[in-house]
Amino acid sequence: MATQAKDTPQDTAPDSVVVRFAGDSGDGMQLTGGQFTLSTALAGNDLATFPDFPAEIRAPQGTLFGVSAFQINFGSREINTAGDAPDVLVAMNPAGLKVNLDALKPGGLIIIDTGEFTKRNLDKAKYDVSPLEDDSLAKWDVLAFDISALTVEAVKPFGLGNKDALRCKNMWTLGLALWMFDRERGPLEDWLKNKFKNKPEIADANIAALNAGHAYGETAELSGPLQKLHIDPVEAEPGLYRTITGAEAISLGLVAGAQLAELPMFFGGYPITPASAILHHLARLKEFGVTTFQAEDEIAAICAAIGASYAGQLGITSSSGPGIALKGEAMGLAIMTELPLVIVNSQRGGPSTGLPTKTEQSDLYQAMYGRNGDAPMPIVSACSPGDAFEVAIEACRIATQYMTPVMLLTDGYIANAAEPWKVPDPDTFEPFPAKFLTEKNGEELLPYKRDSKGARPWIKPGTPDLMHRIGGIEKAVDTGHIDYAPDNHQAMTDARVNKVLNVEVPDQEIAAGEAGGKLVVVGWGSTYGPIRRAVDNSRAKGMDVSHIHVRHIWPLPKNLGDLLNSYDNVLVPEMNTGQFKTVLRDQFLVDAKPLTKTSGQPFSIVEMEEAIDKYFDGIPDNEGGQVEVNDTQLPSSEQ
């Protein structure tokens, strides 16, 4: 884009642009990105974001591992991913430049704060020679100037100390970015005034920095690579919109789900990245009948949620891989006692502590198989922040209608990413009020007598004369008494498995393309965006490729097997070593091939397209062959 901006007159604006802000974690990059996102949304562009920050809270300043970045892809067309390669990189220090340079598109624009390119910072970023002084940046357009000094100058009238003055750098940079993309400054000024309500001089200084950055754009436009670029609004369904992150969407979806079930919500959590955001959101929504409980550990969090469900509320717990592992035994208890429960797993890189702030989809096996005994549990997955809202409601529906724990899989990428969201009208939601047993359901009380869906009655302790005992020991059919008899265990195991298998899930739809054909790319979770885009691009090139996105991981949609078998080839991209691929092979005997990635980064569209290209040998009207897969994933004899 930058090259284009320099060389060609601005009559043909691109339909999308990718910008990445990178700097020290202390530079406020996430805040800058967040506010730029809001201004982008308000300008009516579609967008997707990718915040990428270090695991350390206050990593030593200027270091490579302390770099925090925020990428946004926005456009006048539908945006499905945060974008592969940035067109613009804003590097607030040498480390930020070094870590992010490789990602930048050739010919892209780099904006550099030379004020931070001191000997000390260059050393910390392990640069022997300043990249500004050799020709290592020749591939790109470089706009290097002393943002630090310009900021200090701009905020001088407000009498801040040097440190506080320099803190306004990110607003200066944001001002420049707003100028570049022809954005209003008003909403940002309002936001700053509100944020620094009690420190008006800080608010004023930040606004001055913002304005100075904006004014700099006007002047610099006259020469050099900087050009103003207007991206038109996207065509969108009419209605009210806002931006939403996955963590917010899940919280709101859970609140909506509890309301639709007409139940108070009990949320048990224990802090863990990236799941904590859900606890934080819900802690502020008490007016919706929400109780949040920060437990002593993940086991206590799920156990308290089970206790609350037992007592008649909607128990919910949330964690990430390591915490989900701790909850395993208690999930079995919820399965055995057949109590509703929603377990949200915001997946991150594993195993063990793994990559706390990076994304992965590697807990699918854990969700499917990670418990002792035959312990079936419905599993739903979210594919985007907006989708997470609906999926959370779906999880509440299944849990309360079928008296079962439900696992909701989301991931670190979805949790933190933001996208525009058309605000739904709650009146359009279908309620699913929970029912409680208030009188004996037979001659004697039968706590395990099942309804047509296979669900047992929900009986609140405190209900007059329905005293009974439940627990983790095998239950007798109907009566729920302790029963170790062989036939009984067989019958109850079958009942539990069948109940879950018979959970009603919608038929599988095709996201792009049609049933039958040469290749289908099957995804679940947050790979939706890159697959969607890559399949669209490949289809535009004439390739016979379709996209299926599976939301209901367990039970799988009834028609999925036939659908998959209608294609010659099945490719399953995943941010793990091929877990869903194995499930599909197991369930449908299809020759599903994996495309795997476990770098902690989402798939790029190019990676997906290359995988599709390989199948077609890059020739659109080629007959196509066998799906080729990346080298790392098939067992070879040398390994």
Binding site: D15, A41, L42, G44, S76, R77, P187, D232, P233, V234, E235, A236, E237, P238, G239, L240, Y241, R242, L252, Q259, P264, G268, R284, L285, K286, E287, F288, T291, F293, A295, E296, I299, A300, C303, A304, G307, A308, S309, Y310, A311, Q313, G315, A330, G332, V423, D425, P426, D427, K460, P461, L466, M467, H468, R469, I470, G471, G472, I473, H481, I482
Partner: protein, 349 residues
């Protein structure tokens, strides 16, 4: 909020039709009877009573109580019970746990249910052994306990459950033993206490740790070896029929307890302490009194209520919700929004 004493029941009303499966002669039977005898005296309502347990011989308890019951998983009963209590603060909750369940695998949850002060009665059946798993040494086993996992005797130092409870912030600590006729009184005091009430109940596992408590629990000479505490009464022990002959006094120089000769007549001059159940410091000393040189302190060792967790949660929820409207439509559309009008939008592809 334990329900006010109203209900007319008899012991029989609290028995289930389930066959009790403890070993014949197990101390658990006596505790079950004591509880079933106590509840009618409290006027408790079976429909509003809930027994929650972990895993162990002791944790089978709920199956034998004609109340609501939840036999959960090993060590986690305090967490489950916390959720139950928060969801329905009106329920009268009794927690049943063992020395392994409550202090080994579930020690963390035990600490937190006590420090949070969730209103319930917590009965820890201490048999100083893992009964259900066939007799391994437990965190309360005395040093030298021979067991399948410690064939030549255990060598780790045992935990003192009441000291643990007090250290964790419990506001009620009581002690009794399975066959003691005083156990119902301790249970009643625990029930009357608003908050987490911790009761250690020494329980005889006749199969794997037979009669380990006989040193103080055996009826013969019990007066010399048991100090039953009563609020406001002097700490006297010895033969009660003979008007006692010993008492517990405080050595003010070393801040330790000592046994002094004293009777019902002269205890004041002898410096015998009067039990003040709100005195946390003395409670600590009583709990830590080494058995042998001292008698075993039993009864209500400490009782000093403080606001409960569930009350605090309810208050916080009300405070947090105050002045806010539970309007889902408004919540969904919160923050900076924009409207796309029907005719707007400039598609480029």
């Amino acid at each position: 909020m334990n329900a006010p004493a109203k209900f007319e029941t008899t012991l029989k009303d609290w028995e289930t039709d389930q066959e009790v499966r403890w070993c014949p002669g197990c101390g658990d039977y006596a505790i079950l009877k004591a509880v079933q005898r106590t509840l009618p005296q409290l006027g408790a309502d079976p429909s509003n009573t809930c027994f929650i347990s972990g895993i162990g011989c002791s944790s089978r308890f709920p199956y034998y109580m004609e109340t609501y019951g939840f036999h959960t998983i090993h060590g986690r009963a305090p967490a489950v019970a916390t959720g139950v209590k928060l969801a329905n603060p009106d329920l009268d909750i009794w927690l049943v746990t063992g020395d392994g369940d409550g202090l080994s695998i579930g020690g963390n949850h035990m600490m937190h249910v006590l420090r949070r002060n969730v209103n319930m009665q917590i009965m820890l059946f201490n048999n100083e052994i893992y009964g259900l798993t066939k007799g391994q040494s437990s965190p309360t086993s005395r040093e030298g306990t021979k067991s399948p996992s410690t064939p030549i005797g255990s060598f780790d130092h045992p935990a003192n459950p009441c000291a643990f409870a007090l250290g964790a912030g419990a506001r009620f600590v009581g002690r009794g033993f399975d066959v003691s006729k005083n156990l119902p009184d301790v249970l009643k005091a625990a029930h009357a206490h608003q908050g987490a009430a911790f009761i250690e109940i020494f329980q005889n596992c006749i199969v794997y740790n037979k009669d380990v408590f006989n040193d103080f629990a055996a009826p013969k000479g019990a007066g010399d070896r048991q100090l039953w505490l009563e609020n406001g009464k002097p700490m006297l022990f010895g033969d009660p029929k003979a008007g006692f002959d010993k008492g517990i006094a405080l050595d003010r120089d070393t801040l330790t307890l000592k046994v002094v000769e004293a009777t019902e007549e002269n205890w004041e001059e002898a410096g015998v302490l009067v039990h003040d159940q709100t005195d946390r410091t003395i409670a600590h000393l009583l709990i830590e009194m080494p058995f042998g040189p001292f008698p075993m302190a039993l009864g209500v060792l400490y009782d000093d209520p403080r606001p409960t967790f569930e009350t605090a949660v309810i208050e916080e929820r009300a405070k947090s919700a105050a002045g806010k409207e539970a309007n889902l439509a408004k919540l969904l559309g919160k923050g900076q929004t924009w409207t796309v009008e029907p005719s707007e939008g400039h598609p480029t592809d």
